[in-house]
Symmetry: C2
Subunit: 195 residues, 2 copies
């Protein structure tokens, strides 16, 4: 609050995250990042050494953010409601943080992106997995279902959908789909997990 303007380093990191998200590692331009951050290009090399170094720093901070992210306490009520809420949480998180989706689907194309992608995937699935397990324990869901698999299916359904061209998934002329998707995902899984 007191700092009206973040440090140069932070502004660079923020601008870089956006640029890498939009263009991928190869398509990103250091000059654009500098311009967007309002600093000299050279300052980027001063802080991060190289474009690759900057990319790795960005990946690390993204991973950090999801690692420390604690999902809200479980909603009370029947397991299907909790599942619905968990899917909505995930979908919202991914919508608000396009860098997660981008990193997931850009891995293997940037330096060391694979490892980051793996951790993000695991972390994102965790919340879901717990909800499913708990639902099983309480007898709401089939006990021969695999919670890890179900969680992965949800993550793929959400991230995979949002990873498709934004012009379509967030098409202003058809906002319906963007709204309907998470609901449909929750419904599908609820049926998949029912006895």
């Amino acid at each position: 609050m007191t700092d009206r303007k973040p440090s140069s380093r932070k502004r660079i990191a923020d601008a870089a995250r956006e640029e890498f998200t939009r263009c991928g590692f190869a398509g990103a331009r250091v000059a654009r990042i500098a311009g967007e951050a309002g600093v000299n290009k050279q300052l980027i090399f001063y802080y991060f050494g190289s474009k690759a170094g900057l990319y790795e720093a960005v990946c690390a901070s993204i991973v950090d953010a999801v690692d420390t992210y604690t999902p809200p306490a479980a909603t009370a009520g029947p397991a299907t409601e909790q599942l619905k809420a968990a899917v909505a949480r995930l979908y919202t998180s991914l919508s608000e943080r396009p860098e997660l989706v981008s990193l997931l689907y850009d891995s293997g194309r940037g330096p060391s992106a694979s490892r980051s992608a793996r951790r993000i995937m695991t972390q994102l699935a965790r919340d879901l997995e717990e909800v499913v397990s708990r639902g099983q324990g309480l007898g709401y869901f089939r006990d021969d279902a695999d919670p890890e698999l179900a969680a992965q299916q949800v993550v793929v359904l959400c991230a995979g959908y949002l990873g498709l061209d934004r012009e379509r998934t967030q098409d202003p002329t058809n906002p319906a789909m963007h709204e309907r998707w998470p609901t449909a995902v929750a419904e599908l899984l609820a049926r998949g997990l029912a006895w």
Copy 2:
């Protein structure tokens, strides 16, 4: 058979498809494509004018291939079996043609990739959509289900999974997942569509 060696033009196009698939548009290198095709770099410009022109030609040929692709006649038997077979077909197609997945998730980053991605998506969903509709008509599936939505969910589940880092989805130390995934997808959808 008679041509033991395809034309230069074709070899360039093939090499380009692989390079763009692996590296994306921005990461692809014209020199590497030439090397892989066993031709001079200049020849690429002679045929395709520019890197962007080459990319668009590759996209067009990919779209063409899926457009003319006719899915095998429906398997006889109960709808859930047909669904299972259709999912397996889709998953196999996508595994064998990584360029489809790549194009789907690289759209918006290459010239005119969006349009191609859209057509591919639609085309891939078609087979599935028919199977679901037919299953509904025969009373196997809930008639309040939306076949288009179900088909899209299947495509996202398959393409979204294969789009994740190959080191994971096709991890040799864990080939189990690569094998299990399509089965799990079919099972999930079957439950989702059941009465």
